[in-house]
Homo-oligomer: 480 residues x 2
């Protein structure tokens, strides 16, 4: 018996999101576990989507003249320790290599949790003059952060895949000007491909990247009421430049420290996409992210089988650029195949039987709404792209409605606990005192997710924790 | 001062190949070292070529219906140890993770030296029925093999990048039928893109992949007289299937072990390509592997600068599909720029000055021969692709001549030592006795590289070591 015989998700998304999600991941054949705790196998379907993300990012950063490189997986302990905040942020979760074969290493090696500390000593060596700047490198890599909390497939795994952009500039102005360009790239991919609405802002000092001057993030709001951090952009100022001695002789013949940025999108976003759109019947994918957008299920009877299959093949040929497969297995019933194709996340399913054939039409079913469309075969090349676009938009709009309808503004601390309990994303005034951030977390288990760059007037706005003058209005909520 | 000011390779390829090669790698900006011994940084130029190789392989294996996946970097010690030959082959050079943060792990984890042992427990779980077969997966990954010998950039590094194809079949016949298809793919990429002639054959029992029934390899012959193993195909038979319990219920309802293959091409091939074609002036690249195939160097004088630059830009536009850059820096002399572009490996350089402009022509210089061609600007779109093709072929033919002119046949042991000293690749008869292989190695420092599948008659052929009946005629030589 094939594994594929175990069908259906046993728990509803609304009742128990976590259980629903982990079942979805396995039953829709996206990932699996191994004996290595906290790590997952990316199965062909999810890895193809990661390849799609890589392609989209590569196309876009190439236009910014960013070059792909590859640095070693290993980081000597001495390198990792040079920037104090960075080392503090990352060493608690670093995996250490201590032996090679039977030989104990003189200096233990960290598996990169991110590559600043292995790249920047090289940058220090390579960069001499203003002529060497800007230097814009990117790397696609596997990184390890040894989570001791409960790992969740894609959302939080001990090994994950990401891009890490590392760019170096002669001036702060140039470095900071890169931020909006990178955010636009990530926003485009999230919104127009993954159908993921998001909210943008600056992280608090507490929550920013270890070693950055400031961090900008795109965040998503999941159906379980939790925010989850998506792609981010870190302006590192001269912090790493000073720790790793990255200097250049400028046009004025003076020696200066460089200005740096780092930015990333990770495989976590695949999980966000799966979790956002899917339902109790299985996976729902934005058509633009699905390799195979159409599955044809011919309804086979002995006397008409040949004709129906021939027509299915013709339709496959006509629509081939959308990625089409025909499920012509005879050992399964059409009903069983419908269930399977719904689990698999194929955006459109085409049903064709002998009666349809007589009328020269087919039934097309849109995965997200289960709505059926009877379409003349001659109209398919016109109607199919419309349905795919429609579905892409519907997924975005549904997720956007979820996000917008759950944002609540309040100036009142008393509301916060109740709103958090009700899984809301709150916009509320806070001050920059880190103790207030700590108190918020202790009392509500929520945190400041990020702070919109454009702020309304803060006149008369008081910090919801200490009641003193507020410094910003930020998004507050529970978070992964 | 920019690093780019240090020009030229100080040692000739013929005099000291090793030193020449390591200088080439750094001065042509292909790779650099870090403090992590035995690992290299892939700089943009070499990484772009690896991306090209990945693209070529992906296009081709997709047609064989192979799907890309990603398995964890870590392998639990228990998994690594299941197949005796495999563990014996790899554990001496495995890097071990023993700690995460401050916590000692219960079971230490190997960094994958190759992924059989982490993939196959999953295969055992996933494969139930003949309907699940064939299963054809491929992974692009970084692997670590802790070489204790002198590492050489690209040729032999402690971390390297490769594809690892892992395919599973219901019958031995199907599994073995995959071999020639995979070898054809690799051969096509080596010969038609990297301009690398090679010789194909089966590895001896001693030299085959640890865990395989047999290994086929494509091997190259380097200008220093050493053979170097290129891409390979391993037929694993049922060895791993039995060790990892990978079974399926066949159509006849009987439970059977599966049949498996693995196959790989690694970043080593980049090094072989650099070493094969380049000369004392720097890098030479097969045009098909160079992103930027043409560099335009305008000869700038104050009075004609504007016109010359405008024409250079027009030419760039016309030829843009070949990847063109204009070196319009005024702080360097044309002569300096010629040296730089020769070091960089750009296949064609176009020189254009005011006098050329008057005659509506340019000078094109082919990197491999330094031959100059005066070409009418109106003829460029016709002549440039011809020159690129010509250069691609010339590089292959030169390397092929090197290979062919160094293959020597002998039946006589007395010749071997001298031939090895003269860096020849020898075709000689041997028997399958492993002691003979050991003796060959001890006495000559050479080994059996591989054995052509098509063998001539072995009548009256005696093993060059023991003088008993020979079992094959194989390639013998020094090797990386």
């Amino acid at each position: 018996m094939s594994k594929k015989d175990e069908k259906g998700i046993s728990i509803s998304k609304e009742k128990d999101f976590s259980k629903w999600y982990t079942e979805l991941i396995q039953k829709a054949d996206l990932a699996d576990y191994t004996k290595v705790s906290g790590c997952i196998v990316f199965k062909p379907k999810s890895f193809a989507m990661w390849e799609k993300v890589m392609e989209l990012v590569n196309q876009r950063i190439k236009k910014l003249n960013v070059k792909n490189v590859y640095f070693p997986l290993f980081i000597p302990e001495e390198y990792l320790s040079k920037e104090a905040t960075h080392v503090e942020g990352f060493t608690p979760e670093v995996a250490w290599v201590t032996h090679a074969g039977k030989t104990k290493l003189n200096e233990r090696l960290a598996i990169r949790p991110t590559s600043e500390t292995i790249m920047y000593p090289s940058f220090s060596k390579w960069i001499r003059s203003y002529k060497d700047l800007p230097l814009k490198y990117n790397q696609w890599s596997n990184v390890v952060r040894w989570e001791f909390n409960n790992p969740v497939p894609f959302f939080r795994t001990r090994e994950f895949l990401f891009n890490e952009g590392h760019t170096v500039f002669a001036t702060q102005k140039e470095a900071e000007a890169e931020g909006p360009k990178i955010i636009d790239i990530y926003k485009d991919i999230l919104e127009n491909y993954m159908a993921l609405p998001n909210f943008f802002g600056k992280k608090t000092e507490r929550e920013k990247f270890a070693g950055a001057e400031y961090t900008w993030s795109l965040e998503c709001y999941l159906p379980n009421g939790k925010a989850i951090q998506g792609p981010d952009f870190h302006h590192d100022g001269q912090i790493f430049a000073k720790a790793y001695d990255i200097k250049f002789i400028d046009k004025d013949e003076k020696e200066k420290y460089v200005w740096q940025n780092t930015w990333a999108i990770s495989t976590r976003m695949l999980g966000v996409m799966f979790a956002m759109h899917s339902d109790d019947k299985g996976l729902i994918l934005p058509p633009k992210m699905a390799d195979e957008k159409i599955g044809i299920i011919p309804i086979l009877f002995e006397d008409s089988k040949k004709k129906v299959l021939a027509e299915a093949k013709k339709i496959k040929k006509i629509l081939n650029k959308y990625g089409v497969f025909i499920d012509d297995r005879e050992e399964y019933t059409p009903g069983w195949k419908f269930n399977e194709i719904e689990m698999s996340g194929t955006p459109l399913r085409i049903e064709i039987g002998p009666r349809d054939l007589l009328k020269k039409e087919v039934v097309v079913v849109k995965r997200n709404t289960s709505k059926k469309y009877t379409i003349k075969i001659s109209q398919l090349t016109k109607e199919i792209p419309k349905l795919l676009d429609e579905m892409q938009n519907e997924l975005y709009e549904k997720a956007e409605k979820l996000l917008k309808s759950n944002i609540v503004k309040t100036d009142n601390y008393k509301d916060i606990i109740k709103l958090i309990k009700n899984k809301k994303l709150i916009l509320a005034p806070m001050c920059i005192n880190e103790e207030c951030e700590d108190q918020l977390k202790d009392k509500t288990t929520a945190k400041v997710i990020n702070i919109p760059l454009e702020q309304p007037s803060l006149e008369n706005k008081k910090c919801i924790i200490c009641n003193k003058q507020a410094d910003y209005i930020g998004y507050i909520g529970k978070s992964y």
